[in-house]
Amino acid sequence: MVVTGNDEKVINDLKAFLNSCFKIKDLGPLKYFRGIEVARSKTGITVCQRKYTLDILEEARLLGAKPAKVPMEPDLVLTDTGSAALKDPTRYRHLVGKLIYLTISRPEITYSVNTLSQFIQEPKLHHLKTVHRLLHYLKAAPGQGLLFPSDSPLHFIGYCDADWARCPITRRSVTGYCTFLGKSLVSWKSRKQTTVSRSSTEAEYRSMAAAAYELTWLRYLLKDLGVSHPGPAKLFCDNQAALHIAANPVYHERTKHIELDCYTI
């Protein structure tokens, strides 16, 4: 349980009240929370999972591995065929499950982990090799995490993108977005879309819709935290056609099926 507030006295009152209701153990300032290490300084708060990363590496016996520069080979397209099936898929699932938890503080491995977790049903040898490659990358900087700077403005900025027809098996596209609160990164996602898009504009548009949902939710959350958000949140997209559709929803043959998403933006 994490408690914060703008008044030290109120916090102490809350602690005393909770202690009267339940028996609580006061763990002091937030330092280590569900495997996440939190450190605080004047510049801001950092969040990392150094110990968790090292535990994964130790478990995979890759503590002595050669560090890699990127989490995954660029342009690597994983398919579900190509090598022998693993004899013990449990190990693969275990590793991928741990890596999913690691994405809490490592946004850069989100895409790799998302791709790898699509194969936990029937992992093959080359999937496991890709996981090991990812672990090599993690070894390069196990203490890397997020910094929430203290001098950042409090308004949301979202960036979204899509990779059209990325998945070779289903030909679906991949949504990717990240949202910042001022300078600090608060949420991100990399996810295969649920439908097949016939144009890259459509794929981009869907990712815009997903990011818009997230931003709307985050604004509600910020309001609940007692912080007012000045003006609308900004959302950046790199596809001109999608921007035009968002600015001026004119439907024709190719776009009328994404009408529903258009209403959300």
Partner: protein, 357 residues
Amino acid sequence: MPIPSSIATLPETITHPQPTLSNQPSTQPNLEPPSHNTSPPLISPPTVATPHLTSLKVYSRFPHTTTTVPLEPPVTTPQSSVPSTSIDPSVSSLTNVTEPPMVDPIQTLPEPRHSTRLHRPPPYLQDFQTYHDAVLGPNVSSASISGTRYPLQRYVSYSGLSSPYRSFVSNISRLVKPATYEQARHDPQWVAAMTAEITALEENHTWSTVPLPPGQQPIDCKWVFKIKYKADGSIERYKARLVAKGFTQREGIDYKDTFDPVAKITTVRCLLAVAAVRHWPLHQMDVQNAFLHGELSEEVYMLPPPGYRRQGENTVCRLHKSLYGLKQASRSWFRRFSYAIQEIGFQQSRADYSLFT
């Protein structure tokens, strides 16, 4: 590899009354290279080779062994459980067979049918004197002695270990978490731990003892034992926790909803980002025995915990507070907590139900 349900040790090598040798089959062959042709009775051959070693025997079907799966007593004293290898094999087989085995009626299962084919040793073993041969004699079936075909005490002994290593092994295997109440009730430390847990539960008014109303089905419970270690490996305390067997609960009768909101990690990050900007202090807390605070809205009856049941009495515990293991434990704890915290003016966020502002 045989899983040791209980371990018998050889009389001259006993170092501790309750040794558990779960790591022995792997360590023993490393320490003592197995010698095949001149194997003394105490040195264990690698367990992998056991099918060959027992292949001399004819698995004669004795009528008195066909109906019971032998259940060895959980606490093995050396005297009772050692089919000593120094005794004449036929005598040991007789004594073990004639003595009534401690068999629970539930455990009495028909023995699976075994092949009646004569087992002959492979020709390459004719040049060797195998262990079973020496110990048992050619005509004694190992199944007739203990019921287990390849009992572990035939293959594992302490005698090959050096004395410091032997004491080390017995020390690490001495600390065994008991699996059941029956195993724990003889140990005063575990009894103390269980008493402490029962006292805590009764102080908490977790249940009241009532006679079982007709038409109700009580759920069972069990003890879970745990040794809490400090960071340096020494023992911090012995802990016993009473858990309900929630898997016997029926949906709609014993529980309804089980969902419990968990804080979204994005919310936590948002909170941290705002706290960094606004310079809010951050504190962390932990509620001890959190689930025990949850109040139950359903009528749940539980059998009294093992060790607190009285013979012939038909009373059960009606649960007022939730217990670890119940399906609705997390939900009822969350309901209790959110009620308490809204009492003092906090509001549940609509965006994330686990956020209170």
